[in-house]
Symmetry: C2
């Protein structure tokens, strides 16, 4: 099983921030990525719909013979992880728990801000997880629905991006938070602007690094790591449900590496 | 057939601007509305995916025994209408042609601006249609991808809305257009801001009124109108592919009438 790939899926292109971390932290591992670009975004949709989409994505990755699945999408992790973990044997890792853990570790004054899609925030998944680690922490959450289209449209360097970030984050200014969770895989691309708006003293925690750190631990514990003693030739595959060219156009903002072997699949809808 | 309903579909909630016009212009007609809210938006997706979604929506409406179908979605009209008209017997009306016709009629200086989703603008559907009526007209097109999330998130009364509208429309200021086509059913909700930014002298043309006017003519010509001599009791049905409550939350911005009989359907994805 050690040579089998790691499966990663996201509603679209945002999960490539996790792939980037996998390349860095686990360079021997092969990756199968699935972006459900025909049905993106998930963050504005209902729980039952997100669970259905998540199940389909997992079944597809299982057919690709993966040894572990990372749900890189915060919305899917918030709304569907608990449900789908009941069904499948292989380890399924969401982004909420590792990110929450890191935020708790980073906060000194026990006041943490969380931003995410409307569905993630409505689920209160981060709040529940953070309070599981430390019930005394005050969590202030806010949905920031324009951030995903802002990133998807490649507007991150335009003045309007700063205006939109300011609009959403101004409420945090009076909340005296010392840590901000970027609860969506798209948001790391807005990090420089968020940093500028929130000031240099705030801890900004994103999902990608933490989830890969956790994956590393699990692979080790389960004896599933592609051991570095064997000379490894990792093979990466990328699948999308909408046209490949649209995916590539946005993917370049996330991943400098040139992406090869991208295929469009069809769920039959 | 006269008593059969008119079918209307959109990628989401935007097509309710067309329903509103149907209520006003054709008060005797029953309506079946379908919003594909599980897969919204269409405007950032590829042609083949939009055609596939469009075919499924039409097949669903045919099962509801409709006598005519309105594709209220500009993206779907731009990318899929030509293709799907080959397959089906009943009249299928898109929004591009009637809207283009109205814009040509409205423009005196023969310089027309068009705004829409990335997919609609990329298809050049409006430009082609406008030039079919008058090849001398200069068409200046621009994709305005943040407008849909702006409307969907109910941010139309926030200062950020004006900033975003200004950002996208500033290029038109130097183009000396006298007419602007709102090439997306979401955009009429931004009309007051667009009017403020573009000035009072510009003609703003949207799809809803024009398409219903055309539908009226076709029903008459084909003998399909629900004649006003018969006392009519129109029955309206609304279907969505994601949760009903999410639809209702946004629908109230589009339609003041209380919506009854809304059901979630499942395409089996």
């Amino acid at each position: 099983m050690m040579n089998q790939p790691i499966g990663v899926f996201d509603s679209g292109v945002g999960g490539l921030t996790v792939v980037k971390e996998l390349f860095q932290q686990l360079p021997n591992e092969s990756i199968v990525y699935l972006g459900d670009t025909a049905r993106v975004p998930y963050g504005t949709k209902s729980k039952s719909t997100v669970i259905k989409f998540t199940l389909e994505n997992i079944l597809f990755l299982l057919k690709q013979n993966v040894k572990l699945i990372i749900i890189a999408c915060n919305t899917s992790s918030s709304l569907a992880l608990e449900e789908v973990r009941k069904y499948f044997r292989i380890p399924i890792i969401g982004v909420i728990c590792p990110t929450a853990k890191e935020a708790v570790y980073a906060s000194k004054n026990k006041r943490i801000g969380v931003i995410g899609t409307p569905a993630t925030i409505k689920s209160r998944a981060y709040e529940i997880e953070i309070k599981r680690f430390d019930p005394d922490i005050k969590v202030i959450s806010k949905a920031t629905p324009l951030f995903v289209p802002l990133v998807e449209e490649g507007l991150i360097n335009k003045p309007i991006a700063e205006e939109i970030v300011k609009m959403y984050l101004k409420d945090f200014k009076n909340e005296n938070i010392d840590t901000l969770v970027l609860g969506c895989t798209h948001y790391p691309l807005l990090k420089p602007i968020i940093r500028k708006v929130m000031g240099s003293s705030i801890n900004i925690v994103d999902s990608a690094r933490q989830v890969v750190y956790e994956v590393k631990e699990i692979l080790k514990a389960e004896g599933l790591s592609n051991s570095s003693k064997i000379r490894a030739f990792p093979k990466h595959k990328f699948f999308v449900t909408d046209a490949v060219e649209n995916f590539l156009k946005v993917a370049k903002h996330f991943l400098k590496n040139s992406l090869r072997d991208i295929r469009k699949i069809d769920y039959g809808f």
